[in-house]
């Protein structure tokens, strides 16, 4: 099924140029001046090679909102963004709270042939926040679910959260919390602060995120469970996570590309393309998130890719759905926010965008997030870091167009992505 590929002149982690021979889906040889009869050649031309990216937080919208995204279009976006594995959030319609739905999503992902789709299971039935879903059945299903999340909603009930944290230990699961105290965010539209006061938009206070993170790390510590915190967005959250990790609590966290780059000043346009949950915060939050990602307090970049149909964004701010596209531009934003600022080197990018998310979500078992070493599964992305381009939303692979980066010049171009030795992207074009 997979042939042999000889990729010449690539720089793993931006280091010395080598050739890489891929055979049987694995990296067979690494070194200078390789030759292999019968292998197809990819001329790397000095491109940077990283392990295939892994996203812990993607909304693929299928089943239920195929007008906004399908597993196929989402998978294409992911491959074009350099991803080889994505976790599909559970807030579909029907909700992914049974073995049947998670298996359906998993199969659609497998059929896409472009990216491994690991379904996330809902923590509670229907995301209702009151009754545990059959977590064990989802774990035991063909989809082998390990990440559980009510994302979109917070598991707000502290007793239920405690039980969920405990219960998933039986099969090595992790609860990924969308940290949002619901009573503090009734009707919330944007970050609460100077901008919301001026714009007359109901505020989403940082404390509503931080209060839940504080509670959950204490609970996780108490019962000895793993906790993962979704889309951390405030400086205070970074401090809490730093404290929890120093205490030895088993907590991991992710940050989105948009929270690493954009601020709540953009709400002044009233353009709902900038409406997202958690909301864009202030410049000092952005700085704290970058530093937290750089020092490892935040483990992973996760896109929170959230496609929305045109009518859900081409409206009043208050009527719009929250969320923005992320898969296809994630690596570019990381390059801009973290690499060009000197905060992360390429090994750091590989760690935060591939190795750690694969470990957190369990995709490591399928060979994701491994090193670029002989014998490892050939999941990799080839990147031209010098290429810069102005983003035209019409060129995106997603069914939706709600990118906050329209018209922005972004660095980095994904030239090729390989999933188990098979190119899913070549020459910047998806292969399915």
């Amino acid at each position: 099924m997979t042939g042999s590929w000889l990729i010449t002149d690539i720089r793993p982690y931006g280091e010395a140029a080598v050739d890489v021979l891929i055979r049987g889906g694995h990296i067979a040889e690494i070194g200078p001046g390789l030759s292999a009869a019968g292998a197809e050649r990819i001329d790397g031309g000095g491109l940077i090679a990283l392990p295939g990216l892994v996203d812990l937080h993607t909304h693929l919208r299928e089943p239920g909102r195929e007008d906004a995204e399908t597993v196929q279009t989402g998978a294409r976006s992911a491959a074009l963004g350099g991803f080889t594995g994505v976790h599909a959030m559970a807030n579909t319609d029907p909700v992914a709270d049974t073995a049947g739905v998670v298996e359906q999503v998993w199969r659609l992902g497998r059929d896409s042939g472009l990216v491994d789709v690991a379904p996330v299971g809902a923590v509670t039935v229907g995301l209702g926040g009151t009754q545990l879903a059959e977590l064990g059945a989802m774990a035991d299903s063909a989809a082998r679910v390990r990440v559980f999340s009510d994302d979109g909603f917070c598991v707000a009930d502290p007793a239920l959260m405690r039980r969920a944290l405990e219960y998933v230990k039986a099969f090595g699961g992790v609860i990924a919390q969308h940290a949002e105290e619901p009573r503090l965010t009734v009707g919330a539209q944007m970050n609460e602060g100077v901008r919301s006061a001026q714009l007359g938009l109901t505020g989403w206070p940082a404390a509503a995120e931080e209060a839940v993170i504080a509670r959950d790390v204490l609970l996780a510590g108490h019962v000895g469970s793993r906790l993962h915190v979704c889309h951390v967005s405030t400086a205070g959250s970074v401090e809490l996570l730093r404290w929890a990790k120093a205490k030895g609590i088993d907590v991991t966290a992710e940050v989105t590309p948009h929270h690493l780059l954009l601020t709540d000043d953009l709400a002044a346009t009233y353009d709902p393309v900038y409406k997202v949950n958690p909301p864009l915060r202030t410049a000092s939050d952005v700085q704290a998130l970058r530093e937290g990602l750089a020092d490892g307090t935040i483990d992973a970049v996760a896109t929170d890719h959230a496609p929305h149909a045109v009518e859900d964004k081409e409206c009043e701010w208050g009527a719009a759905r929250p969320g923005m596209l992320g898969l296809q531009q994630a690596l570019s934003v990381v390059v801009l926010a973290m690499v060009e600022t000197g905060l992360l080197d390429w090994r750091g990018v590989a760690d935060r965008c591939s190795t750690r998310p694969a470990r957190i979500g369990g995709l490591g078992r399928d060979g994701h997030g491994g090193g670029l070493t002989v014998g490892a599964p050939a999941n990799l992305v080839l990147l031209d870091p010098a290429a810069r381009s102005i983003l035209d939303p019409a060129e995106l692979a997603s069914r939706s167009r709600n990118t906050p980066y329209a018209g922005m010049e972004l660095p980095g171009r994904v030239v090729a992505t390989l999933l188990r030795g098979r190119p899913t992207v070549l020459d910047g074009k998806a292969q399915a």
């Binding site: 609460e192 919301s196 001026q198 714009l199 505020g203 208050g318």
Partner: protein, 308 residues
């Protein structure tokens, strides 16, 4: 300056003064006339697009447009496609096709007029958007202060009440700062927005302390329902601490005026004897609203000869 009137922050002192001076000229021109009508906007179409019930503001704009001889279309949420879930954009395109020269929009969502302005070629006038702004109210308030007290520069204006949810307060703060007045906001801390320390105002929690220094006291409408959200314990306590009654009114300097954008909650933020006193400008505000809105429509629509 853009062709729209979306925020009181959209214009500088000179432009703000031009609105007020034009309103004064219009008032003078119509004074004593039997037919209160000017031919200025003949053949132009003004649409009142009201997503929120506000009879008084709609009537004010309607009358203002009619007195300038414009054709007026009232497009209200009730009984139109708007209430059947037509999107703001589709409504905008419809109005565009009708050839609306100006759209006066009232909407429950902050920023809706900004969105509308993207989709229509005509002027958009913000007639109140959510908890954001109500710029023509601020203009008519400034006009009222100036005509009663003769100046705006250095005038001490105390605005009392639900600043958090008040578009009137936001627009007044911006405009009064532009015009050189000194604004003090008085409210329970729950009804002041986070971030208010960046506003060009003084903030106080004690109304009695603020009144003796006020040339103008503007009482904001406070909805009783805010009690259910624990912004204050009870209407009675609110009224006791932040309501303006006769005793408190007596603490004001002799020439001070009492304003209210309406509609009033008598007995809540303002006592009946205050609302009906000689200090009260409430009826004047309504009358001035008409002249000011005529000035706004005139200046936005009459085009090149005015440097706006």
């Amino acid at each position: 300056m853009s062709r729209h009137l979306l925020s009181a922050a959209d214009f500088d002192r000179e432009q703000a003064t031009l609105f007020l001076d034009t309103a004064a000229q219009i008032e003078a021109a119509l004074a004593g006339r039997e037919v209160k009508k000017l031919p200025t906007l003949r053949g132009r179409t003004v649409v009142n697009l009201f997503y929120e019930d506000s009879t008084r503001t709609r009537i004010s704009f309607e009358l203002a447009a009619k007195r300038l001889s414009a054709d007026v279309i009232n497009f209200s949420a009730k009984g139109s496609s708007v209430s059947k879930g037509e999107s703001l954009k589709d409504t905008a395109l419809t109005l565009e096709a009708m050839g609306a020269d100006a759209v006066v929009v009232r909407h429950s969502m902050s920023g809706a007029p900004h969105r509308l302005a993207l989709w229509v070629r005509g002027c958009v006038v913000n007639a109140g958007d959510g908890t954001h702004e109500h710029p023509t109210q601020a203009l008519l308030d400034a006009y009222t202060m100036r005509s009663r007290l003769g100046r705006l520069e250095g005038l001490r204006v105390t605005i009392v009440g639900d600043v958090l949810h008040s578009r009137v307060a936001r627009s007044n703060v911006l405009l009064l700062a532009t015009l050189g007045a000194e604004v003090t906001l008085v409210a329970p801390p729950t009804l002041l927005p986070v971030g208010i320390e960046t506003w060009p105002v003084e903030v106080a929690f004690d109304l009695d302390g603020a009144l003796p220094k006020a040339d103008v006291v503007m009482m904001l409408r406070v909805q009783r329902e805010r009690m259910a959200e624990s912004y204050f314990p009870s209407p009675r306590e609110y009224s006791r601490r932040y309501g303006l009654d006769a005793t408190r009114m007596a603490m004001l300097p002799d020439d001070a005026i009492v304003m209210h954008p309406g509609p009033m909650n008598r007995g809540m933020e303002i006592a009946a004897e205050v609302a009906d006193s000689v200090r009260s400008t409430i009826v004047e505000q309504v009358r001035n609203g008409l002249s000011v809105r005529m000035a706004v429509l005139y200046l936005l629509l009459s085009g090149a000869e005015v440097s706006l």
